[in-house]
């Protein structure tokens, strides 16, 4: 892979030298190391991230590089396992001597490997994993997150839920930390916003193991619990299976409000197409039609041109991380790791998702959270969001003292 990328890079570089606007090729290249799930069940997330990263790097190299230096990418496969991800980090840091680490899909993996940054003394920008803990309980000096975290996404869900008439809520989620945390945070936030809501007890909520393919027992359970609102934190293949089976069983008949925290992920919408029911509240970490700022339009169109698909949030995450690194390097006028860490703290940057500030205290990006109702639109092959609700960062991000982050 690495060689292939190098080869492509060399060809591209040669082409550009011949074409005219020469890249300032002085100095060593800037090395960025990416760790995503490239194989197995969740390989689709790694693939998206890689597309986003390559898009950003090509754009940067086509202009002036970073501080006049070319950018080189190294991709490693985490396979979704913490020990493999740790090994990938070691390889990138000790063997390839990368300047910055970018990546991580699984929250469990992220939480486990984040402490290693203290030893590797290399900045890490997380672009997908959403556990609040990496910018909370286990936060550290070198770890940043550019993407929406669980708390931000669920806070937005609670805001929407508080506007609905639903009073009794339950959940369907994956049976691991993400699902349980989504439910906990949702209960906490919604209770604050609307004290008279009720949440169903443990025997009326459903958590399905991640390997589940038949969701019918869970669907039955929730339907018979007769809630007024359901928070669904399933994602990826699980969500696709759930939505199909649930619509056949009449789950989306409008008897209750449905909020899907990751329902607007494009990989889900592309797989389901018109099987995705209309009028459901769905959230995502980035929505390609979320705004019409020049940055977003340029990103959306470049991505579509190159990959004939609309960008997923994971592609956006990797793209954003590369851009953030560039901005930090330019702010610091250096690629020194400590300097980058300093520069990333409080960095303000225009990203396709909107204007984002990386909070200095916990290294979480203050990024808007996007939700919307699913709707058909003849212009797009997939369901789109209409209306779109964009919640500004300050409304959904927990204050620093609530994150549990103690940076030293």
């Amino acid at each position: 892979m690495k060689r292939m990328f190098l080869a492509i890079f060399v060809i591209v570089a040669c082409g550009m030298i011949l074409a005219g606007p020469a890249v300032n090729a002085t100095g060593k290249p800037v090395k960025l190391g990416f760790v995503y799930i490239m194989s197995g069940p969740f390989a689709t997330y790694g693939q998206f991230a890689k597309r986003g990263a390559e898009l950003a790097i090509d754009e940067i190299n086509k202009q002036d590089g970073i501080l006049g230096r070319k950018v080189v990418a190294f991709f490693e496969d985490s396979t979704g396992k913490p020990d493999v991800a740790a090994r990938a980090f070691r390889k990138l840091v000790y063997q390839e001597n990368v300047d910055c680490l970018i990546g991580l899909d699984s929250s469990g993996v992220a939480k486990s490997v984040v402490p290693l940054m203290n030893e590797m003394k290399t900045p890490l920008i997380i672009t997908h994993a959403a556990t609040p803990d990496v910018t909370g309980k286990v936060c550290n000096k070198y770890t940043f997150r550019i993407s929406v975290n669980l708390a931000q996404n669920v806070k937005a869900a609670a805001l929407i839920a508080s506007e609905t008439k639903a009073k009794t809520w339950t959940t369907v989620g994956p049976d691991y930390a993400f699902g349980h945390q989504s439910w906990e945070y949702f209960q906490k936030y919604l209770k604050e916003l609307k004290p008279d809501v009720e949440f169903m007890p443990d025997d009326k909520v459903a958590f399905a193991p991640i390997k589940t393919t038949d969701f019918s027992p869970y669907i039955t359970k929730i339907m018979h619990a007769k809630p007024e609102g359901v928070l669904i934190s399933l994602w990826g293949g699980n969500l696709i299976d759930f939505v199909r089976q649930a619509s056949e069983m009449g789950f989306f008949s409008g008897k209750w409000e449905v909020l899907m925290t990751l329902g607007a992920a494009t990989e889900v919408l592309y797989a389901l197409k018109d099987k995705m029911p209309e009028g459901i509240w769905v959230g995502t970490r980035y929505w390609f039609l979320g705004n019409d700022s020049p940055v977003n339009v340029a990103f959306r169109e470049a991505y579509f041109k190159r990959f004939s698909e609309y960008p997923s949030y994971n592609a956006h995450g990797a793209y954003a991380a590369v851009q953030a690194y560039k901005a930090a390097a330019e702010k610091a006028q250096s690629t020194d790791k400590e300097a980058i860490v300093k520069a990333l703290e409080g960095l303000k940057i225009e990203l396709p998702v909107g204007t984002v500030v990386i909070r200095a205290e916990d290294h979480q990006a203050l990024t808007p959270a996007t939700w919307g109702r699913t709707a058909a639109d003849p212009k797009y092959p997939i369901r789109v969001l209409n209306p779109i609700r964009t919640f500004p960062a300050e409304k959904v991000t927990p204050p620093v003292d609530k994150t549990g982050c103690e940076m030293h």
């Binding site: 049976d175 443990d202 038949d214 027992p217 359970k221 293949g237 199909r244 069983m249 797989a271």
Partner: protein, 286 residues
């Protein structure tokens, strides 16, 4: 009461799908003594190939018929070139070899069809729902519920009543004797493996309108089908049937009462059965 009925239905449907997957595994083990780790991957391949054919020729039934046959062809290749040399070796070598096949197939599927999820629609005839205790229930699931026993019974008929079935059973009992009376055991084994593969792929093709197709389909199912086969008794059809239904019901009712323990239920079933019936429910005690 209606919760109970719906859960019963859910469990039976899932059990039937598990049965379709496991029955090939148990056939191959019963006759050839090979535990096929790649069985789940062949199941997955069945789903993908059927999907591909349905894309070319938009008819569910054609995909259902041709897809498994194509995969069975691959099964013949695997048996002749890979398994045949290791029959005399320890069972662990067969496990490792089929594990290698699993690695190749799982990645090959991703290379061919990409890592994204795919879905397949049920045929128009079966795409509706019927009402059930004021809840709608998909027709396709009920179709599966009927199809499982049909497959089980035809296999049982094949093995018990037809000449070919009897020959295969004889070869399974005593290979040397079968060779002595002029049965070409290697060719027979190829056939049986092709049958097992066909069954796996048929299960995959049938599951396509039921669950999304992705590169992890095989991995998700293989351990559960091992559990079904061992719980039922290795090589036993009725065993695979009972084991699959038991697991299906356990998982569907488990969501109602088990809470946190739910993830462990299949393994709990496995342990309890093996502790009290060391050879599985229908296994022959030695």
């Amino acid at each position: 009461m209606d919760t109970f009925a719906i859960n019963l239905l859910n469990g039976l449907c899932w059990g039937m799908l598990l049965f379709l997957i496991s029955v090939g595994l148990t056939t191959v083990f019963g006759v050839m003594g090979v535990l096929n780790f790649a069985h789940g991957s062949l199941f997955m391949l069945g789903a993908y190939v059927a999907m591909q054919i349905m894309e070319w020729i938009p008819n569910f039934w054609i995909g259902l018929i041709i897809g498994p046959v194509v995969v069975a062809g691959l099964g013949i290749f695997i048996e002749v070139f890979l398994l045949r040399p290791v029959y005399r070796r320890d069972v662990t070598f067969q496990l490792l070899l089929t594990f290698a096949v699993l690695l190749v197939l799982d990645d090959a599927v991703r290379l061919i069809w990409g890592p994204a999820y795919h879905i397949v629609d049920p045929p128009p005839l079966l795409s509706g729902t019927i009402s059930f205790f004021d809840q709608s229930y998909p027709l396709y699931r009920l179709f599966l519920l009927c199809f499982g026993p049909v497959v089980g019974l035809s296999l049982w008929f094949f093995f018990q009543k037809t000449r070919w079935g009897k020959v295969i059973r004889a070869a399974a009992l005593d290979r040397e004797m079968a060779e002595g009376v002029g049965i070409q055991v290697p060719r027979l084994f190829t056939l049986v493996f092709a049958l097992g593969t066909w069954l796996a792929a048929l299960g995959g093709a049938l599951s396509a309108p039921y669950q999304s197709i992705g590169p992890s389909l095989g991995e998700k199912i293989i351990i559960e089908s091992f559990i079904v086969v061992v719980v039922g008794g290795l090589g036993s059809f009725p065993g695979a049937f009972i084991g699959a239904i038991a697991l299906g019901l356990l998982e569907s009712f488990g969501t109602m009462f088990a809470g946190r323990v739910q993830m462990a239920l299949p393994y709990l079933l496995l342990i309890v059965v093996l502790l009290f019936r060391p050879r599985g429910i229908f296994g022959k005690e030695v």
